[in-house]
Symmetry: C2
DNA sequence: CTGAAAGCGCTAACAT
DNA sequence: ATGTTAGCGCTTTCAG
C-alpha cells in the first residue's frame, strides 16, 4: 500500500541505493538519472520513511525538549526559541512537560532516550544529583536552558542571575530605598535561592543596609501569591517601600494589592520584576523589569546543541548571555 | 555498545521473541522466565529502541501537534491540554509552530507523515481547500482542535462560537447599549468571520439595532491593536459605549486606551472579551469574558484522536463543548 | 509457553 | 556513476 524506496527503484529502473542517493542529495548521481528518479518519486507520491531511516542511520533528526509547563508563558517563550532554531536546522521537537517533578523528568529522559532523540534541551529549576547522574550516562547530548547544575559541568545557557538581581536591587537602593523586599518564587529553585537571592543580599550589603529576613518571601510564582505577599509584608511595623520580585506575575500582584490599600506605584512604592514578559507592558503602571531573555536562551541552547550533535569544537560549553534592565513606570 | 534485545535473549538463554513478549507485557510467558528476563534487562540496563519497534510494528506512539504559535498563551493552553491526555495514553508529542502559514502547515504535515506519527492534532484558523485535500489523503488520522473546516467533515473539537458571541453581545444589549463595537482578530480566521461575527450580527438584529460597519474592526489579535482600535473608533461622532472583543489582549488594550482618555470601565464603557485566559483576572478592572476552554478543547481533541487511532466506534466526530460566560468587573 | 525466521524501509560500506 | 548486500533492533506470524 505505502510506496517504498524499493517501488521507486523498480519503476525507475535503478537500484535502491541510487534512489537513496537522490533523496539524500548525494551529488554522485548523473543528472539524467536523478531527473528520472525524481519524476518517479513525484508520480508515486513517494515519501521517505523517517523511522526506517532512523533505524538504519542511527539519527532521527528529532530532539527532546523537557520543560516544566508549556502553558506558562515563561516556558512557552523558551520553547519557541528552541523550536525556531530546531526548525532552522531541520530538527523536530518532542515536547514534554515535567511539572518540575524529578520523577517525571527521569521518566521523560528515559522515554526520549528510547525514542533515540539526537539530543535534548532541558529546563529544570532544580537539577538533582540523580538527574545529573542520569544525564551523564545519556546516549545523546544534553544542554540545560535557563537552568544551572551545582557541578556546573553540563552544557548550559543562562544569564548571570546574581549580577542581574544585584543590579535591579541596586537601582532601588539608588532611588533612595532602605526597606526593599525580595518577593521570590520557590527557593527549591537553585536560581532563586543561590543566585537572585545572593544578588539581592550583595546589593544590600554593599549599601550597608541591614538584611531583614522578614522582607524575603518565597512562595509560588503567581499573581495571587504576589497579592498575599504584599498583604503580609505590608503589615510589618516598618513595611517595605520597594519590591524586587522574581517574576512579572508576582510584581503585578504586588502592585494591585498595593493599589487596593490606596498606595500608588511608583509614588509610594517602587517595583522591579525579573522577567519582562509581554505582560510587563500590558498592565498599568507598566512594569520596570530585569529582562530574562527566555527566547534567546532557548534559541542559543538549541544552537549549542546542534553544534554538539555535529561534533563541532566548542570553546564555551557554559554560555552566559548578557542581560539588561527595562525601565518603565513602576519605578521612578 | 548499546544493548539490544538480542543481548538480553542470549544472557537469559531465551529467544528474542520471549524477551519481546516480556517487554510488551504479553501474558504468554511463564512467570519464572519472565522473572529471569526481567533480571537480565535490569542488569544490562536494556532499553527498547522505539525506532526499531516503530519500524517493525508500524506504530510510533507519537502524535504530531501543529499549532500557530506556542509562545502565545492562547495556543500554549491548548497544547498543554493535548499533551496531558497524550501522556495519559502514553503518546509523545512532536510539536511544531505553523505561524498560521499555509505553506508551513503543509510542510509540517508532510514531515510528520514522514516521521510516521500515529495521528495529528492541528489548530488552524483557516483550513484551506488545499490543506483539507492533504488531510483527506493522510496516512494517519487527524483531528482539528479549536478550528473549523468549511466542509465540516473532519473530526474536530470546538464550542459553538456563533452562539457564544451572540450571548456576549446580548448581555451588552441587555445592559442597555445600542452602540456596540466588535473588535476582532483577523477575518482570515473562519471562526472570526463566519462565527463570532455572525453571532454579533444576530444579537443586534434580534434587538433591532442597526448594524454599523464602522463599529467592526478586524486586525491583529494584540494589545497594541486594541489600543489603536479604541482610538480609532472613539473618534466617531457617535462612538460605541460597549465593546465585544475577540481576545483578552484586545480587551485590555481597549480598556487602557479608554482610561487614557478619561473614560472609566465599566461606568462609561463596558467590555466583554472572548477568551478568558489567566490574564483576565490580572488586570484592573478584571475582565468579563466569554470562556474559550482551550485546555479542554485540546484535551478532548487528543482523547478523540486516541479513540480514532485505536479504531473505536465514535458517534460524534464533530464535538461541540459547552461554553459559559465569566462576569467580572468590566461589565456592570 | 517458547523459538525460528521473515521482514519493516532504509543507509552505508563495498564492489564494479 | 551505480548496484549489491548487509544489517539497524524489533515485532510477528507460524510451528511446535
Amino acid at each position: 500500500m505505502t510506496v517504498t524506496i524499493y517501488d521507486v527503484a523498480r519503476e525507475a529502473n535503478v537500484s535502491m541505493a541510487t534512489v537513496s542517493r537522490v533523496v539524500n542529495g548525494n551529488p554522485n548521481v548523473k543528472p539524467t538519472t536523478r531527473k528520472k528518479v525524481l519524476e518517479v518519486i513525484d508520480r508515486l507520491h513517494y515519501r521517505p520513511n523517517a523511522v526506517a531511516r532512523g533505524l538504519a542511520s542511527k539519527k532521527t533528526t528529532t530532539v527532546g525538549v523537557i520543560i516544566p509547563d508549556i502553558s506558562n508563558v515563561f516556558y512557552a517563550e523558551l520553547a519557541r526559541g528552541i523550536e525556531d532554531i530546531a526548525t532552522m536546522y531541520r530538527y523536530n521537537i518532542i515536547l514534554s512537560n515535567s511539572d518540575q517533578n524529578e520523577e517525571k523528568e527521569i521518566e521523560l529522559l528515559d522515554t526520549m532516550y528510547g525514542k533515540q532523540v539526537d539530543g535534548i534541551v532541558i529546563m529544570s529549576e532544580n537539577v538533582s544529583e540523580k538527574i545529573l547522574e542520569k544525564m551523564n550516562h545519556a546516549p545523546a547530548p544534553i544542554v540545560l536552558a535557563g537552568s544551572v547544575d551545582h557541578s556546573n559541568t553540563m552544557p548550559s545557557v543562562n544569564i548571570d542571575y546574581t549580577q542581574a538581581a544585584y543590579e535591579a536591587v541596586k537601582k532601588l537602593i539608588d532611588n533612595g530605598h532602605k526597606r526593599i523586599a525580595f518577593v521570590s518564587g520557590p527557593f527549591t529553585s537553585i536560581i532563586n535561592r543561590d543566585h537572585k537571592f545572593v544578588g539581592y543580599k550583595n546589593a544590600l550589603e554593599e549599601a550597608h543596609i541591614e538584611f531583614d529576613e522578614n522582607l524575603v518571601l518565597s512562595a509560588e510564582d503567581s499573581y495571587d501569591s504576589g497579592i498575599e505577599d504584599f498583604d503580609h509584608v505590608n503589615q510589618l511595623e516598618n513595611p517595605p517601600t520597594a519590591y524586587f520580585t522574581g517574576s512579572d506575575e508576582l510584581a503585578i500582584g504586588i502592585i494591585h494589592a498595593a493599589q487596593d490599600v490606596g498606595k500608588s506605584v511608583p509614588e509610594d512604592i517602587e517595583v522591579i520584576s525579573f522577567e519582562n514578559s509581554k505582560l510587563a507592558r500590558m498592565v498599568r503602571p507598566q512594569l520596570s523589569s530585569m529582562v530574562l531573555p527566555l527566547y534567546d536562551i532557548g534559541a542559543v541552547a538549541m544552537r549549542l546543541l546542534t553544534k554538539i550533535m555535529s561534533k563541532e569544537k566548542i570553546d564555551h560549553l557554559q554560555v552566559v548571555l548578557p542581560h539588561r534592565m527595562e525601565e518603565r513606570k513602576s519605578t521612578k
